[in-house]
Amino acid sequence: MLLRLLPGDPANALLSVGADEAQIAAARRQVGSDLPLPQQFLQFITSLAQFDLGTSFVSRTSVLDEIMARLAVTVPLTLLSFLLAIVVAVPLGIIAAVKADRWYGAAISVVSQLGIAIPVFWVGILLVTVFAVNLRLFPSGGFPPQGWNAPLEALRTLFLPIITIAIVMSASLLRYVRSATQDVLGSDYLRTARAMGSGFGEALVRHGIRNGAVPVVSILGIELATTLLGAVVVERVFTLPGLGSMLLLAIEQRDYPNIQGVLFISTLLVLLIGFLADLAQRFIDPRLRERSGSQP
């Protein structure tokens, strides 16, 4: 709704210098930008209620089809970088907490601080310069025209973007894991477990990880949701046809059906991720299960 107050008109994306007034009027009629704002909004809500995201003003293709095609890039990109970030950040975060007094524990903390400070596009450009332009190990960008029908090619083009997101994501994730682990280390139950004869490692694995995981999982959920749309910067650097770049282009062109479609679908995805994170927490922590069980 607010977007429609921006100067500009979606019909403009379809026209060029040379068009006459009749053509401009016809284009505005076609995209509906000649209607009053409340009426445009009502139309959108009505079709949404019928699960119809409409067709793009500009490409005249189904919004849902395009979103699905774009998700085929964004979802693998997000999930793979997310998994990589977990694989890197969780062990390192635990080491950084447990061995905080050793030089490598401290070093991990310092490096992760650095990872938080550098912007993601800079990491992307750096990786392109070194691994694509200089070393020619990976493509500098783009996505194969055959898409996932050429799986190796597709993975190769996603490699650098995945690393880029994973570097930045694991840096912040690592800090959460580290502080969660530190909390666990200072907790009474861990001391009790050790007092009852468990070794340090055993106590940490049996009691510590479960407890430490609960806050980390909720952070993971938030991070995953952010990355889904936050991948736009990386998509731009690597010219990937993902959901974020679709949104960016749609805003430039004032292609309202596309903007609304992307926002709607991404809201659904964020809710879904939140729900899954909740489920995961309940699975990890039996107390959460019991609490919800008492409130049917």
Binding site: G8, A13, A27, T61, P145
Partner: protein
């Protein structure tokens, strides 16, 4: 060295480069099955040039997927394509066009006169978003007396009709959807379109004419010039269709792995005044501003040794080009004098609406500095391309603006007093209308040359410079068009050696 000389020097340089390319060609055979990978910044918004697809669709589809009755070749000449031959009646009002036989669409349907009629009417239809719709407005009616003959009746003589038909795609009248699919007669058919990423074309096995010299084409789209250049550097694409930033040329120029070609451009950087409003309704003010801007220095600071200075809207490749650089040559003293004569000895201030993408913001700053020297204060107002279209093109709510005008043969805009810049000189209106109604090309050229001189004398706008048209390719690739007139990029003659 003047611009024109350096331009000619470039031609020679390109020729040498081509010879070098040809020399090394003997070492490696051209591979007829190679897919040519073309990198571009202009992704079409959809696949239909009457539905607002943008210039990218001309680049990918003109002459490749779709053909017209006539074709504008890369050298600027107009040749029959799907027309076998044609005749014009004595009064110039009736064109009878015979179609080539044995032409079929990609879907298998034969080409008939009904398809041609449908295709032209698509461009002139009410819902058409073609920027060229007006050029075809004097078509009275179209008849298809038999399957192989099309008769076009005009309201008035139109010497440019064959030229204007070069951007009318002949499409299958049975095709249901042309915005996300295609059904043409060209040497390639559409294989796939991945929005935001690429368009792939494969050879049309049943093509009526000469088969493509390669095994297909993929256009890959980039949003940033750096990413596009990186793709060429890393061998992810073979050719980039237009270089937008001169800084990036250094990495290709002295490298034997790449060929840099400068062709003839039709893209003009224009400082357009709203000629309806004070003080720009005063010719002296417009001339003063033109004289106060050192355009040679501007071009040099943006493009280095590339690009051309033009004294009017007409580029050297249009048949009605006249060198008008001296009409309002750079001269600060005479600019001040003209301003004084116009009653602005102490200058004035105005707002320059500047599109937010390159090179406009830099050009705006340059203009601001130059005009400050003659006492004119420029307020730069940055707007998006979309706002430009609403505020300036439609509402004409502006004092002055910057814009690049890309089309070939677009001097006609100065013959339309209703155009956004509001230039209104009856003599020019008559000359431009008269040129179109000419019986011979000589007459047309003569009239447009005259119109060209007048708009330059009137400083209807300030024509800052003509962009260079630069194509860079891997040295293993040749046969591509270097001029790219009207954004076309014919792919069928491109060959790639090795692999």
């Amino acid at each position: 060295m003047t611009r024109r000389q350096s331009w000619a020097g470039w031609g020679a340089g390109v020729a040498t480069a081509m010879m070098l390319v040809l020399g090394s060609a003997q070492a490696q055979e051209a591979n007829p099955n190679a897919t040519i990978r073309i990198g571009s910044l202009y992704e079409p918004q959809n696949l239909d040039n009457t539905a607002g697809a943008g210039q990218g669709i001309s680049e990918a589809f003109n002459g490749n997927v779709y053909e017209g009755l006539f074709q504008l070749l890369d050298d600027g000449s107009v040749q029959p394509r799907l027309a076998e031959d044609y005749s014009v009646s004595e009064d110039g009002l009736t064109y009878t066009i015979k179609l080539k036989s044995n032409v079929t669409f990609h879907s298998g349907d034969p080409l008939t006169a009904a398809d041609v009629k449908h295709s032209i009417e698509r461009v002139t239809a009410e819902t058409s978003k073609s920027s060229r719709k007006n050029s075809l407005a004097n078509i009275e009616s179209i008849e298809a007396p038999d399957d192989a003959t099309v008769v076009i009746h005009l309201k008035s003589r139109s010497i440019s009709l064959p030229y204007n038909l070069t951007y009318v795609w002949i499409v299958n009248d049975a095709a249901a959807d042309l915005t996300s699919a295609a059904d043409g007669t060209g040497p390639y058919k559409l294989d796939s379109w991945r929005r935001g990423s690429s368009i792939s074309l494969v050879p049309n096995e049943n093509y009526w004419g000469e088969k493509p010299k390669n095994g297909g084409v993929t256009y890959t789209y980039f949003t940033e010039a750096t990413a596009l250049n990186n793709a060429l550097l890393t061998n992810a694409v073979d050719i980039i269709t237009s270089v937008q930033s001169p800084d990036s040329l250094a990495q290709f120029k002295d490298n034997p792995s790449f060929t840099v070609s400068e062709g003839a451009s039709t893209t003009k950087e224009v400082l357009a005044f709203n000629d309806r409003v004070e003080p720009f309704s005063n010719t002296k003010v417009r001339k003063a501003i033109t004289r106060a801007i050192n355009r040679e220095q501007l071009l040099n600071s943006i493009w280095g040794e590339y690009g051309t200075l033009i004294g009017s809207f007409v580029p050297p490749t249009d048949p009605w080009y006249v060198d008008l650089n001296d009409v309002d040559a750079y001269d600060v003293e005479s600019a001040k004098q003209l301003l004084a004569e116009a009653g602005f000895a102490d200058g004035f201030s105005f707002t320059l609406d500047t599109p937010n993408y390159d090179p406009h913001p830099i050009v705006a700053q340059f203009v601001q500095n130059e005009l400050a020297k003659v006492g004119i204060k420029v307020n730069i107002n940055i707007i998006t391309a979309n706002e430009w279209y609403t505020k300036i093109y439609q509402a004409r709510d502006f004092e002055a603006t910057l814009q690049e005008h890309v089309n070939h043969r677009d001097i006609v805009f100065y013959g339309n007093p209703n155009f956004y810049w509001g230039y209104n000189n009856q003599q020019v209106v008559d000359l431009i209308a008269g040129a179109e109604a000419s019986a011979t090309e000589e007459e047309q050229v003569e009239k447009l040359k005259e119109a060209n001189r007048i708009i330059a004398e009137d400083a209807a706008s300030t024509w800052l410079y003509l962009y260079p048209q630069i194509v860079v390719s891997s040295a293993s690739v040749s046969g591509y068009p270097v001029n790219g007139l009207n954004s076309q990029f014919f792919a069928y003659d491109i060959v790639k050696r090795g692999q």
